[in-house]
């Protein structure tokens, strides 16, 4: 997961095609051809619609480009963002990133499958 400080976010590689999908839009209705990066927005960190959008993009639609979290992005949601299919996140202005890395190191595994590891733990154990 690429964690981007707020003031670094406009480092757009030239020629990249970037789109933003609004929270109320079903990603399955969006033309993804040629898209390199999709930005999904968190208007408040307690508004969880973008998690489902990321899941659908990554898992259902097989989108291979970058999915970026923007808006009210805080340290304690980064792990679930990553599990839902995000691979970069722009931290909200003023958020101290120093506590971020240890959140990824805390849990070695989770019970249920997700966008990155589709099978639940019991199925992985059995395999």
């Amino acid at each position: 997961m690429k964690i981007i400080a707020n003031n670094d976010q406009n480092t757009l590689a030239s020629g990249q095609k970037v789109i933003e999908i609004q929270n109320h839009v079903d990603p399955r209705t969006v033309d993804l051809v040629g898209v390199d990066r999709i930005d999904l927005h968190f208007p408040k960190f307690t508004d969880g619609r973008a998690y489902s959008q990321a899941f659908l993009l990554r898992r259902r639609l097989g989108f291979k480009g970058e999915i970026r979290a923007t808006g009210d992005v805080l340290i304690d949601q980064l792990v679930q963002m990553q599990r839902s299919g995000f691979d970069s996140a722009v931290l909200r202005a003023g958020v101290d990133a120093s506590a971020a890395q240890r959140q990824f190191e805390r849990f070695s595994a989770f019970y249920q499958g997700d966008a990155v590891t589709p099978a639940p733990r019991f199925a992985r154990e059995a395999a």
Binding site: D26, G48, D76, R83, S84, A99, R102, Y111, Q112, G113
Partner: protein, 610 residues
């Protein structure tokens, strides 16, 4: 009981460590109050009227005696407010009360209607130590609050009920694991509660939940799509209480058991997309299901098909996994009572019943049959004068743990009525258990009677409450202490909530009492005719308000007037009185409403209508 694996054990400990990390960052100013709040809530830490409240998750209500002892330790050592805080809180309570307010108490635990356990006075800076202590016996507060999938509740008699189709506990455990730290569903529009039953009678109020699951057997290919006798779920969605009481709708008549996680993923994903986020009073799934009806169901079914066909149905439960989890729930091996045959035990029990009228009354009320004919299900009543419904002190918890060890294979269950159930009691031990329970004041023979009421902590503790519940519960309890009178009134559900959030389930009470605030004063609405869905009250239903709200002093008289009306109007059926709810349904509400309104102390025009 479920046997925690090394992974489960480590997981809960890591969660406790994560809470400590978050607490320390908040204390260091790295997390703002607003940022810390949803994090602590998802571990069960609220901040209430005077102090933090911790809600500990009790998956489907099952506790080991070791877990009960840790809860006792927490009550004894951590549920300890600073004396100045307690004095200040008491002074405020005294000011709002026209009569001397009840003493606020500390050092105890409270059983909730969703089978959880709450503490009211633990300082937040000790929360991380409490989480470590809980984790030492696999307990935690994961998802006991916040807009996520909450602790999954079940039938208090799961795995022992005589009317059981299949044991719901393995599925409750599988769903507990699935919902725990689910990455996609941690910030839903609103809280999300699942209840599951495997019995014919619904003792889990499933129709009042966001999702209610009923284990059933297929009627056959034609109706249910699989061979007759196959196990599956009937799926109900969109029930809830609050200011808009809604009974859940059946959206699936039959779902094969192994698909339950894939199906619920669709149910929750569609809700996460469409549930309202602009108004928290309209954010529960019940509003979405009500507004969209078939469109919601169609979208869930389409999403479910995609999960099966396009995602490859990753959360299909394998037979091996069901078997692994089910193996944790084999009935405990109980030591044979030396030299006592089943016939002898039965004969001794009958003799004890004949010899001791109080024991006989307790057996009739607090003891239920069991799948194993040599065993019984026993309810320890936490409804008695002098303590709030569902409250247990540290010492009482220790005694309950001892009783569980001695008489119930070390297991107790928190039930939906805020009592404790001992699920594995030998019939031969009933009298000894009764004697011990009586000494500990757990033996009120009042299960399902008027004084076995449900009540939330209300305005004595809760920041949301509009009015206090505990003094109302106490006043009614004190008025109805005559056991013959209670028996004569028969089975009746009295439910008391201190506000419209309905933690005391007033909507589902045969008699419901709801605290409301009017001009800064406490008033109470009374409702009649609700049902939680159990056999006693019939299909789940919300009660109807009898009229403008009453003052606290009027409430016990209103209840008495309603009960007197029942006694005057009830009929005998087969030599027994019909129940309160049967009379109410037969004669309709008018006579009861008139009696209730006639019990006002002051004419209505002098009251503010609330």
């Amino acid at each position: 009981m479920y046997q925690y694996t090394d992974f489960d054990t480590r997981f809960v400990k890591l969660r406790a460590a994560q809470h400590r990390d978050q607490l320390e960052r908040w204390q260091a100013g790295q997390l703002s109050d607003d940022e810390f709040r949803p994090l602590r809530l998802q571990n069960g830490w609220y901040v209430q009227r005077y102090a933090p409240m911790l809600r500990v998750a009790v998956p489907y209500g099952e506790l080991s005696s070791a877990q009960v002892r840790v809860l006792a330790t927490i009550a004894r050592d951590y549920d300890r407010p600073d004396p100045a805080l307690l004095a200040e809180a008491q002074a405020i309570q005294d000011r709002i009360s026209p009569v001397p307010a009840p003493r606020l108490t500390a050092g105890y635990a409270h059983f909730t209607t969703r089978q959880n356990v709450q503490f009211n006075w633990i300082p937040l800076d000790r929360s991380a130590d409490v989480m470590d202590l809980l984790a030492s016996v696999h307990l935690h507060g994961i998802q006991t609050s916040g807009n996520c999938i909450r602790n999954i509740t079940s039938d208090e008699r799961a795995g022992i009920a005589v009317d059981e189709v299949a044991d719901p506990r393995p599925f409750a455990e599988i769903l507990r694991q699935w919902s725990t730290l689910h990455p996609e569903f941690a910030f839903l529009p609103r809280k999300f509660k699942i209840a599951i039953t495997g019995a014919t009678e619904d003792r889990a109020a499933t129709a009042w939940h966001d999702v209610g699951l009923h284990l059933i057997r297929s009627d056959g290919e034609a109706t249910h799509g699989v061979a007759a006798g196959e196990l599956g779920f009937k799926v109900l969605v969109g029930g809830g209480m609050g200011r808009t009481p809604v009974i859940a709708s059946t959206i699936r008549e039959f779902l094969p058991w192994h698909q339950i996680m894939n199906y619920l993923e669709a149910v929750v994903r569609v809700y996460n997309r469409w549930g309202r986020r602009d108004n928290m009073y309209k954010a529960r799934i019940k509003i979405l299901v009500k507004a969209e009806g078939q469109r919601y169901i169609d979208e869930v079914e389409a999403e479910y098909r995609d999960i099966l066909e396009r995602d490859g149905a990753p959360h299909t439960i394998s037979q091996a996994e069901l078997d692994r989890v089910t193996a944790s729930f084999v009935p405990p091996t109980l030591g044979q009572r030396a030299g006592v045959s089943a016939e002898q035990a039965d004969r001794q029990l009958r003799q004890a019943i004949d010899a001791d009228p109080l024991f006989s009354r307790w057996v009739a009320r607090n003891v239920a049959p069991h799948q194993n004919p040599a065993l019984r299900t026993v309810t320890l009543s936490f409804k008695r004068p002098g303590q709030a419904p569902g409250d247990a002190t540290a010492d009482q918890l220790d005694v309950a743990a001892d009783l569980a060890d001695r008489y119930s294979a070390g297991e107790v269950r928190v039930n939906h009525d805020q009592n404790l159930v001992l699920p594995w009691v030998a019939a031969a031990d009933l009298h000894a258990l009764y004697t011990a329970a009586r000494a500990a004041a757990f033996a009120s023979p009042n299960v399902h009677l008027l004084t076995d009421m449900i009540a939330c902590p209300g305005g004595d503790y809760c920041a949301l409450a509009n009015a206090r519940s505990i003094p109302v519960a106490a006043a009614i309890t004190e008025r109805y202490q005559d056991l013959d009178e209670l028996d004569d009134l028969g089975e009746i559900d009295l439910h008391i909530s201190g506000c419209i959030n309905s933690c005391g389930h007033h909507h589902s009470g045969h008699i419901g009492i709801l605290g409301v605030d009017k001009d800064g004063k406490e008033w109470y609405q009374v409702t009649l005719g609700g049902s939680d869905g159990s056999d006693l009250g019939g299909p789940a239903l919300a009660g109807k308000v009898v009229g403008p709200s009453f003052s606290a002093a009027e409430v016990p008289d209103v209840i008495e007037a309603i009960l007197n009306t029942y006694r005057n109007l009830r009929q005998n059926m087969d030599g027994r009185h019909e129940t309160f709810i049967t009379t109410l349904r037969r004669v309709r509400h008018e006579a009861f409403k008139a009696a209730a309104n006639g019990a006002r102390h002051a004419p209505l025009h002098s009251h503010a209508e609330a």
